[in-house]
Structures are given as structure tokens and as C-alpha cells.
């Protein structure tokens, strides 16, 4: 304290309280005029003792008696010491910039709010929100608050610096010296306290040990504080180190927010503990519900690749009425097994060269997957022609079961051939001198060289007995055949020409008759020929007529001509004209008269509007329908021991006749073996699975069968290219030899595979499929 005489300034004037503004003016004026020791008699005036910077470095002592208003010492300067001789109101030391403020009683709410420097000593307790928003400016010492008693609620909210010391001596609440929810938002500073508390913001502050340095500081300053408030008597009692605790703000990296127990602990200790092992539904299911990644292998894959090698019939095979596995033949050629490729055909048809190489429209190639991308199909006739050298396979010994086949045409020979291959004896009954039916007797020489037919028929004759009938079969002979054989097959073809009843019909030459005679060069036709019926047989007739010297050839039809393929091309090549619709009225010497009155001049008029089977020998129990034999799906007639195939059932292509023969032979063999007859159960392969992108779309010709074979897409059957193995991102696919030298298979390791289906996407042949994995339920 200064020894200087103190200047007393009263807050009263003429019995009236003066305004805070007036008192402030008077204090400032006094300090300006040199007073350094003031005694203020306060009557609730605001902010007493602050802002006394006009004294410069010189200390100023302000003693306040009476009742100061709020914010004693606000914006105080470091030169100032303020002593409030009794209690103080709110916000003592508000925005204090360095003043030392001693309150000899309690202080109200907001003590030290926003204080930045200086010290506030409170000899009692303080109200709520003390030491809030305090700062520590590094240029100065930190601010200090010393409270002998306790602090009120929300202490040290947003405290950002400074030191608070709470002695807890005679606290307002003996159970809690720090009040309710202290330290919320505290980011800096330290709080020494003594006595019990009811918690503080753990998120913002933490309790730490008091170091020796801290303790020394606390001891030294406690003595100063107690001296200032005149309570040195308490020094010993308040200096028991074990009674003191220290809170400091957490650093930014130490802020923890609200601490939460770990969920896995909650699950184990609370959730499963209450519900039981396995949690919510542990009693209802054993299904493993533990977490799995998005990409899974093994049984957790959603999709699984399947190597479906040869599961489906390739489109060529499925399109071939005979059922020849064409892609298998190409495969053998690719593998350099030409002989096997050639011989394989004989397992399906006795006429692999004649039909596949010359006479067939090659439905296999019409069905070829390559056509779906507008690519040129493989040259099948080239492959067919190689079959001329096909060698008979070794035939099994005969079973003793015998089948009579009536008719030695394509269907009859096919069924006899297949039955023999299956170990049963088939005997052909035919009126022709040579076997072969239509092929030998009616198809123009221009379509197929004789030696090809001879070679193939000869190959058959080596193994099939042939009974040459001298006259038409009659009903009793048929019955005898039934009695002599286990089964009878009717394959008589369609030999009876259809004729339009009209004047002059006797002048008509049926096409079949014409073709037979022309083939034997036993007929002449003149220069002008009209052919009624512009189908393929009509076209053959036209071509033959040209060969025989005709120059003006006209085919008429009542509808757009049904002819197609080579027959049509060849007829057009010889200059045949196609006319329709033309309705025939009569055949005259001049030619063919139409209902329109026109006469098309002709030396010869051939009729080619179809043929029907000659079935006079049929017993009554075998039903017919519109002139053809009625059969069920097994080619069985209404007599279960009698089968019928070929044109006698339905007019069709040679390959259809051969195919019917082959399938029926298998059915008969199944019946002999006592099995339920089975057809080929394989479905046709979906050509969309093939990747034609691997092939050159601009290739238009093939100069060898090897060349063809290389361009076959091998639909549904593995070509052993290794693309899948190379493509698999997981290295899950490997090629493995099948036990017993039965080739190879591609195998998926489920523990590597993720079910992406890239194998299926890359496979040129569409062998791989991706299917849904089995349910885990």
C-alpha cells in the first residue's frame, strides 16, 4: 500500500447516488491529477477501478467500501490493485487486463469472465460461470483466480487460459466445490482445487498429477493469497498436498468428444449377454452371419462357372436331319485325325459323300452359328466329298434278331445300315436292280458323278443282304414278312406320281418316269418342254430336258415356285423360264393350254406336282393319312411291329429320309434291348454363347477342309485353346487329364474362383456357363 494519503470519493452526492459515468469521471480525474490511493464509497456503480492507465507505471490502489456494482475492475490495468472490502457483484475482473483484485467477501456470477491478465482473489465463494472465456496472451503472465471457498455452476466454460485455484474452504456445497458441469468447452489453462466435486467435462478437461514444480508454485502463491485476504491462519490447513487436485484442458489432439464404449464390447457384454449366444436370432438359425467381403470365393460365391463341354448339340448337328456331328468332324480334322473325321460320317449315314457332298442343301450349314454374324459358312460339301474314301468300321456279330426293310432307297438303306451297325440283321426287299432308290435312278447325272453313287452303294451292299423283288409286293407277302421277321420297316418311298385329271392327261409324262428314263438315256423330248410344277424335281427335269436337247423350257406353277438351291440354279442356268400363276386346262398336241386360253407350245409336257407312296400291299390294320403311312413319334405304324420311314411317311429331303432311318433303327434296337426308346436328348446349343469375334469376318472362301476346320466355332465343345485358363483373373482354372486317357477337362478351383464369369465371356466356343450357386439355406 502507498503511504500517500488516500483520496476518498463517494458514490453519493447530496444524498443521491451518482451515476456510474460521473463516478468514473471523478476517479479518472483524480488519477490524472496524481492521486494514487483512492477510497471509493460505492453505491452499486459499475466497473469501478478499471482503466486507470493514466497513472502510467505508477501503482494505483483502489479500496472499495460499500456495495460495488457489476464488473469491478473491468478492463483493469497492471498498475492497479483493487480491494473490495466486502462482497462483490457479478463479473468481477471482467476483461481484466492486469489488475489485482481482492474481494474480501463472496463474489457473484461471471467472476473473471473473459479475464486476460491480472489476479482476482476472493476471500469467499463465487457464483456461476466463474473463470469463463479467460485467455492467456503469451505476451503476459496468465490470469489467475483464487477462491477461498467454492465456485458456482458452469465454472470455467470455454476457459482458454489462466489458472484458477479453488481452496474449497467452507464451500457452499460441502459435496461439490466445483459446481455443476464445470469445464465445458475448456481449451486452455489449469484448475487447482481442493475438495470433492461432482464431475467435470471429460471431453474438454483431464485430471493430471501435481508436479513438484506445480506444488511449489501453489505453495508460494497460496501464502500470498492468504496474506492478501488476511487468512494466513489457514495456511497450514490448506497446504496438505494430498488434498489437492489439478485439472488441465485437453489439447486439440486429446479431445475425445463423448467417449463411447466400443460396440463390439456392448454386443458381447450387453446385447448377447441379454439375448443369448448368437444374438437376436441365435436360437432360430445356425447360418453363419459373420461379415464377409464383397468379393468371395468357394461356397460364398453368388455365381459359379460350369464347363459344359458337349452338353448341347452344336447348331450344325442339331440342324442336320441325319444328325451328323459336323463340328466333331471339324475338330478331328483340326487335331490332324483326318481318317477318323472321314470315317465318323459312316456312323450316321451310308451316303456321306453322295448326300453331304452333292445332293444335300446342307441344312447343317444353314444352321451354322457363323451365319448369325453374316459370315460365310464352312464348305461342307468339301468335307462330304472326302467321305468317298470312308472305310467301313468293324461290325458287331449278329444278334439273331432280324428286320425286313421294304425299299432300298435312302431311308431303307439308312435303317438297314444302322441296324447292322447295331448288330441286327436287316434284309432289304426292293424292286430295283440296284440299291439306292431315287439316288441311283432319278437324280440327274449332272448333279452327282455315277462313281460316287456306285462306290457308296457298293459299300452298303457288302454288308446288307438284298432280296430283289420281281414284282410288286402284295398283302399276303407282306404278312409273310411280318411272320418271318421280328420287325418290318416300310421304306418304299413315294413312287406314284400325282396327275391332274384334265383332257389330254395321257400325254403327260410324270417327272419320276422322265428322270428314270432320261438317266438311262431312253427318252427324247424335242425342242420345247413344259413342266407343270416348278419344284426341285421339276428343276431336275428341266436340267435333264436341256441335256436331252430341249431349248425352250418353261416351268409353270399355280404359286410362286418352291424350288431352291442347286436344282433351281441349274435349271435357271439352262435358261428355263418360270411362270406363275398358271392354271392348266388341257394338254394338246400344241402344248399346254391354260385356263386363260393361252397355249404354251410344247413337244413334251412333264408333270411334277409330287408323288405319293404306292401302298397297295398294306394290311388294313396299318393306317394311312392322305395317302401316306401314319406313324407316331417313334416312327411306329398302327401295327407296333411295323415301322415306316422316308417319303412313304412324308415327302422330304434325302437327309430327312436318312435321318428317319437312323433314328428308327435306334428305336428298334432299344426295343430289342428291352429299353424305353430314347431319342437324342441334347438340346441345341444357344449360338449367342459363341464368340465369333475371334474369327476373320472377311474370309469368303476355304481352300481345304483343314482351312474350314480352323474357322469352325466349335459350338459348345472345347477346342482346347486355353483362353479360359489364361483369362481367369484368379488363376482358378486348370486343364487336367482325365483318368484313363479319356482326354482332358477344365477344372475350377472353388477356393480361387470369384464367380466373375470371365471364362464364359472369353470362351470362343461358349463351353463355359455361369450359374447361380446353390442356396445356403
Amino acid at each position: 500500500m502507498e503511504s500517500q494519503q488516500s483520496l476518498r470519493i463517494s458514490g453519493l452526492q447530496e444524498e443521491r447516488r451518482i451515476e456510474s459515468r460521473i463516478l468514473e469521471e471523478r476517479i479518472q480525474q483524480a488519477v490524472e491529477q496524481g492521486s494514487r490511493n483512492l477510497e471509493i464509497e460505492a453505491f452499486g456503480q459499475h466497473g469501478i477501478g478499471g482503466r486507470l492507465w493514466k497513472a502510467g507505471e505508477e501503482p494505483v490502489h483502489v479500496k472499495i467500501v460499500g456495495s460495488p456494482g457489476q464488473r469491478v475492475g473491468s478492463m483493469g490495468f497492471a498498475n492497479t490493485t483493487i480491494e473490495v472490502m466486502g462482497p462483490a457483484s457479478d463479473d468481477v475482473g471482467w476483461l481484466n487486463g492486469g489488475a489485482k483484485i481482492i474481494v474480501h467477501g463472496n463474489a457473484g456470477n461471471g467472476t473473471c469472465n473473459a479475464m486476460a491478465q491480472g489476479k482476482v482473489y476472493v476471500a469467499g465463494s463465487i457464483g456461476a460461470r466463474g473463470m469463463t472465456m479467460t485467455k492467456h496472451n503469451p505476451r503476459f503472465d496468465p490470469p489467475e483466480l483464487w477462491v477461498l471457498g467454492s465456485v458456482g455452476d458452469y465454472f470455467a466454460e470455454f476457459m482458454a487460459g489462466g489458472v484458477a485455484v479453488v481452496f474449497g474452504h467452507m464451500p457452499q456445497d460441502s459435496h461439490n466445490v466445483l459446481g455443476y458441469r464445470p469445464c465445458v468447452g475448456m481449451v486452455g489453462g489449469r484448475i487447482y482445487f481442493r475438495g470433492p466435486h461432482k464431475g467435470f467435462s471429460q471431453a474438454d478437461a483431464k485430471q493430471v498429477a501435481i508436479s513438484q514444480e506445480d506444488w511449489d508454485w501453489l505453495n508460494i502463491n497460496t501464502e500470498k493469497f492468504l496474506e492478501s485476504i488476511g487468512r494466513l491462519d489457514l495456511l497450514e490447513a490448506l497446504s496438505v498436498r494430498e488434498e489437492w487436485q489439478l485439472l488441465v484442458a485437453r489439447g486439440p489432439m486429446e479431445k475425445v468428444g463423448r467417449t463411447r464404449p466400443a460396440m463390439h464390447e456392448f454386443r458381447r457384454n450387453v446385447w448377447d449377454a441379454e439375448l443369448g449366444k448368437g444374438g437376436l436370432i441365435g436360437d432360430l438359425t445356425d447360418v453363419d452371419r459373420s461379415p464377409i467381403p464383397l468379393i468371395t470365393t468357394g461356397e460364398l460365391r453368388r455365381w459359379v462357372p460350369v464347363w459344359e463341354n458337349e452338353k448341347y448339340a452344336a447348331p450344325c448337328e442339331a440342324s442336320c436331319p441325319t444328325g451328323i456331328p459336323v463340328n466333331e468332324r471339324w475338330r478331328l480334322i483340326r487335331e490332324g485325325r483326318m481318317d477318323e473325321a472321314v470315317n465318323l460320317a459312316l456312323a450316321y449315314t451310308p451316303f456321306p459323300a453322295s448326300i453331304c457332298g452333292y445332293l444335300c442343301p446342307n441344312l447343317c450349314m444353314q444352321g451354322c452359328t457363323r451365319t448369325s454374324a453374316d459370315m460365310v459358312t464352312l464348305d461342307l460339301p468339301q468335307l462330304g466329298k472326302t467321305s468317298i474314301s470312308a472305310k467301313l468300321p468293324p461290325l458287331p456279330p449278329l444278334s439273331g434278331r432280324r428286320i425286313a426293310v421294304i425299299g432300298g432307297g435312302p431311308s431303307g438303306l439308312s435303317i438297314a445300315w444302322q441296324l447292322r451297325r447295331l448288330g441286327h440283321e436287316a434284309v432289304i426287299y426292293d424292286m430295283g436292280k440296284a440299291l439306292g432308290g431315287k439316288i441311283t435312278s432319278q437324280i440327274p447325272k449332272s448333279r452327282i458323278p455315277d462313281e460316287v453313287i456306285q462306290t457308296e452303294v457298293g459299300r452298303i451292299q457288302e454288308v446288307i443282304p438284298h432280296v430283289h423283288l420281281q414284282q410288286k409286293l402284295n398283302r399276303s407277302e407282306f404278312e409273310q414278312l411280318k411272320a418271318d421277321f421280328d420287325f418290318v420297316v416300310i421304306a418304299v418311298g413315294a413312287q406314284k406320281p400325282r396327275v391332274i385329271p384334265m383332257p389330254g392327261q395321257e400325254r403327260l409324262i410324270p417327272a419320276l418316269e422322265f428322270l428314270q428314263e432320261s438317266k438311262a438315256d431312253e427318252i427324247s423330248v424335242g425342242k420345247r418342254v413344259v413342266i407343270i410344277g416348278a419344284g426341285n424335281v421339276g428343276c431336275d427335269a428341266a436340267t435333264e430336258a436341256h441335256r436331252l436337247g430341249a431349248e425352250d423350257i418353261t416351268l409353270v406353277d399355280i404359286q410362286p415356285p418352291a424350288s431352291f438351291g442347286k436344282e433351281r440354279e441349274e435349271a435357271e442356268a439352262v435358261g428355263a423360264k418360270f411362270r406363275y400363276p398358271c392354271f392348266s386346262k388341257a394338254v394338246t398336241e400344241e402344248g399346254l393350254e391354260l385356263t386363260s386360253g393361252e397355249v404354251i407350245p410344247a413337244d413334251t409336257v412333264i408333270i411334277s406336282i409330287g408323288d405319293t407312296p404306292d401302298l397297295e400291299f398294306l394290311p388294313e390294320n396299318i393306317a394311312t393319312e392322305r395317302g401316306f403311312i401314319k406313324v407316331n413319334d417313334l416312327h411306329q405304324t398302327t401295327d407296333p411291329r411295323v415301322f415306316a420311314v422316308g417319303d412313304a411317311v412324308r415327302l422330304g429331303l434325302l437327309t430327312e429320309a436318312v435321318g428317319a432311318g437312323r433314328k428308327t433303327a435306334q428305336i428298334i434296337a432299344d426295343m430289342i434291348a428291352g429299353k424305353r426308346p430314347t431319342g437324342d436328348a441334347r438340346q441345341m446349343f444357344d449360338h449367342h454363347r459363341v464368340k465369333l469375334e475371334y474369327f476373320d469376318p472377311r474370309r469368303l472362301t476355304f481352300d481345304s477342309v483343314q482351312n474350314c476346320a480352323s474357322q469352325c466355332s466349335s459350338c459348345g465343345s472345347c477346342r482346347d485353346c486355353g483362353i479360359c485358363e489364361a483369362m481367369c483373373p484368379q488363376g482358378a482354372i486348370s486343364r487336367q487329364e482325365v483318368h484313363g486317357g479319356k482326354g482332358f477337362e477344365m477344372v475350377v478351383n472353388p477356393e480361387r474362383c470369384i464367380g466373375c464369369g470371365f471364362c464364359a465371356g472369353a470362351c470362343p466356343c461358349g463351353v463355359w456357363d455361369l450359374v447361380e450357386n446353390e442356396s445356403l439355406d
Binding site: R267, E274, L280, D283, V287, R289, E693, M727, C756, G761
Partner: protein, 552 residues
Amino acid sequence: MLSNGFITPSSLSVKDLPWQIRWEKDKCTLCGRCAAVCPVHTLELGVFRKRMVSTPDLSHLTPANPPATVYQTYHGVRQKTDPAYACVGCATCSLVCPNDCIMPFRTDEADKFRFHLNRGGQARNRGGRRNAPDAAQGGLLDQIKFTRISMLTDPALDAGRHEFELRSLLGRILPPEESLKLFHEQGWTPPVREIYPLLIGGMSFGALSPNMWEGIQMGVSYLNEEMGMPVRICTGEGGCPPRLLRSRFLKYVILQIASGYFGWDEIIHSLPHMKEDPCAVEIKYGQGAKPGDGGLLMWYKVNKLIAAIRGVPAGVSLPSPPTHQTKYSIEEAVAKMIQSMYMAWGFRVPVFPKISGTSTALAVLNNLTRNPYAGALAIDGEDGGTGAAYAVSMDHMGHPIASNLRDCYLNLVKLGRQNEIPLIAGGGVGKNGKLAANAAALIMLGASVVQTGKYIMQAAAGCVGSEADRCNICNIGLCPKGITSQDSRIYRRLDPEKVAERVVDVYLSFDTELKKIVAPLGRSTSLPIGMSDALAINDKSAAERLHIDYVV
């Protein structure tokens, strides 16, 4: 699409699809992960042919030395265009791609695909939400502002510092005289629960996967037991696992009874074993997403687990008819259902009906106000979500929640019964991620409790569905996140613990945001239900309709 071949009316090009996959050849390693993970199997490896015509200097070209054509192939990922396999835009492919080389993009015009989604004459079904991309840019609730900011006029509150009473009441709160009279005459007063005002709306066990359902329930229990937040969750109509029924966690659960009555016999059998009463019983009469329409859990989703919980044999389709079969009139139907459900727990559990948003909501409300047993009225607005619905129901049926709720609340005000019968509002709350703002707006428009479902799926389980028709395949059991699948190969992607953690995160952050809204309004002692003077909107018609301030 093949370069040639026949087309059908439904032959679509990639351009016609709603979602187009962009794949970058240069970055792709052909790892296969995208194709393995694609839920709808749209991605496949393609083989592509690349042609190069190489021409030397023209002076060197002669018939003997022609230009060369060289073909090469490369492999890459492509999408199928068959509508049955069309990309749904979920972008799970992007999620698993190690090189960021694949991503679906929304088509830049209206897709043609939408015209081909009715194969076999089957009208389009989907799960998720409405397709209302415009509304997704900012629905009405998003436009509502809180304009009554108190700085000096009311206590200035600090969301971070002050404490707030945010709990709400569920159950009938009768005026004291009525309550006393009832107590004197019958020895009974309606049960009332103190609950957190954000309720997780009904999503059934069956619609949700076991892991999702358990995760949410676990999160709710955690919030109650570790965080002291009385959050409640509704079961939806799929029954309730017996273990939950017999646990103390049942008190956090609102059991739903709906027209299919699934699982209720199991609930009845559990009655003697219950340690706790459930929070409440919700009688579902309607659903905002598909008002007046029922549901059908297809037989192939009814596996052993679902069957056990619902109390049905496995492998049988489970229909929930559009209406309760024994409902004849509003008076009779609601009253008898409420009575029945009260009886199950000795009149200790509040019972309330839930209806879809409708212009007839007032009629229902008026009926309920006359029934002292009616514990609340829940209204589900048109923006509510669903596991499966006809697209036409979802897109075009229903009533927006804001005006429907407001009408009901103002009607209660007129009767002097506001806050006596709590209104529970839901349907699209937080659909654009503004959960707290939407919820606060509804509360100030008059809701005592707000319920949400989709938000929880999005926030707690990473649902990727959107109003722009992304994903939304909740109905076919192939949810890429495992939220709505019953296939353990899919739902095991979802860890219940992680879901629970996210549920907790959602509630804690919601709590903070709600405080950030109510603190500036100077409200801390009670939820500001119906405090519509705090609301404003810059749409004059909406302001008039909702009786709130119009501001520009």
C-alpha cells in the same frame, strides 16, 4: 448388342438404358471383380474385334501389294442391354474396382427402358423410394426456414453448453380433470412414454436382412443403455424375434400389427415370458409409399428364418392385404383394434394407429380424439419408403406429410386438444440428408414425434438408392449392401456392429443438430411442438397452406 440379327420392340441399345456403364479400357486389369459383384448381373466380359487397315505409301500399293487388313481381339467389360439385366446404377462395380475404371452414369435424357419394364404384362415393381428427382433437389420440408432467432428477446441458448429437454411423449395425455375423473371412476389413466422424438419407423424382419435388423436394434439398445437416449424403434410387420420379445430390450420396441398379422402368435406365446412391456403397439392401416396397397413377401424369400419369426411354413408367399379383414367402419374398426391391443398387456402399453397420408386423415383424427384409449396418430406421407411396391403407387399415390400433419394439428388446436393426442409424422424425413431440419420443421408444424426409415438405411447401412431411380431393388433380394436381402451371401456384407455404430452416430449428430435449431429459438425446456411462429418459407402458397410466415 449384336451388330446384326433381328430386333424386337424391346431390343434396347445402351443409349436407351437408364444407366450406362463407362468402362476405361486403358485402366482395366480385367480382374473380374465388377462382374462378380454386380447384383443384377449386367456386367460381362466381352470379346471385341479390332480391325486395322494398314496402307503403306500409296506409291507402293499395287494389285500385287495391296493394303493389309489386320484383325485383333481384345477383352473388356460391357453391360447387357436385355431389360432383365439392365444396370441399376448401384455402382457396386465402382466400389470394388481397384483401378477406378468403371462407373455407371445416368442417361442424359429420359430413358426408353421405362417403357419395357412390364414384361409378361407385369407392371413395374421396385423398392426404395419415389422417383421424383425434382423433389430431390429440395422438397418442401427442406425449404422451411427457422426465422424466429432469439438473441436478446428470449434466453440466448448455446447448443453446445446448455442442456436441452428434447424428449417427447407418446401416449394419450388427458387434461388433468379428465385424467383424474378416469382414474377415480376406473382406476386407470392412459399409459404415456417419454421417448426421443426421432423414431425409427417400421421396417420388417423380412424386408430387412437379419444383419440389418439386428444392427439397428443393437444401435437402439446402445443409445438407450449407454447414451441415455430413449430412442424407440418400430418392428414393422414381420413379427419380432422371440429372444427380443423376452429381453429387457423389448421396452425400446414398438410392436407393429398390420393386416397380415405375421408373427403375432409368437408374440402372444411370448407374453407370459416378457420381462418388460413393449414401448407401444402400432396398428398399421397404411403406408405412405403405397397407400391403400398391400404387400407380398414372395415365397422364395420366406426362408426358414423368416418363416420361424413370422410363424408360417417356409417357402410360402406371404400376403399382407391392403386392409385389415375385420375392418368395417372407422368407429368400429379403430376402437376394437385399440381395445384388443391394450388388453394384451393389461392396458399398460399405449396403442396407436398409423395411416398413410390422406385427405381423410382428419376424419381418423376426430375419431381418435373421442377415444381416450387412442395413444397417438401416426401419419406416413407420400415420400415414405418401402421394400416393394408398384411404381405407380409409389410415384403417384399419397399425400405430402407437411400439410396433412398441419391440418391435423390445427384441428387439434381448434378442439383445444393439441399435444393431448400426439401426432407422429413421417415419410421422406431427411430424404435429402437434412434429417434434423426436416424433423424440427415437422415438430414445429405440430408433430410430437418424427419417424424415419430410409434415412437410417442410407446413413447406417450405406443404402445407395435415390430419387433418380438409382438401385431401388430392395424388392428383389439383391441389395448390394446387404440391407434388404435374405441371402446370407449378400447380407453378410453388412456387419451388425457397424450398423449399430452408425445408428448411434446418426442419433448423436441429429441430437446436436436439433439443439442447434432449438437453441437459437430459445427453447430448451421442452420440445417446441407446434411452435410454428418460428417457421417461414419463401413460397407464398405454401406459407398460406401451412399457416406459417412467408419470407423473401
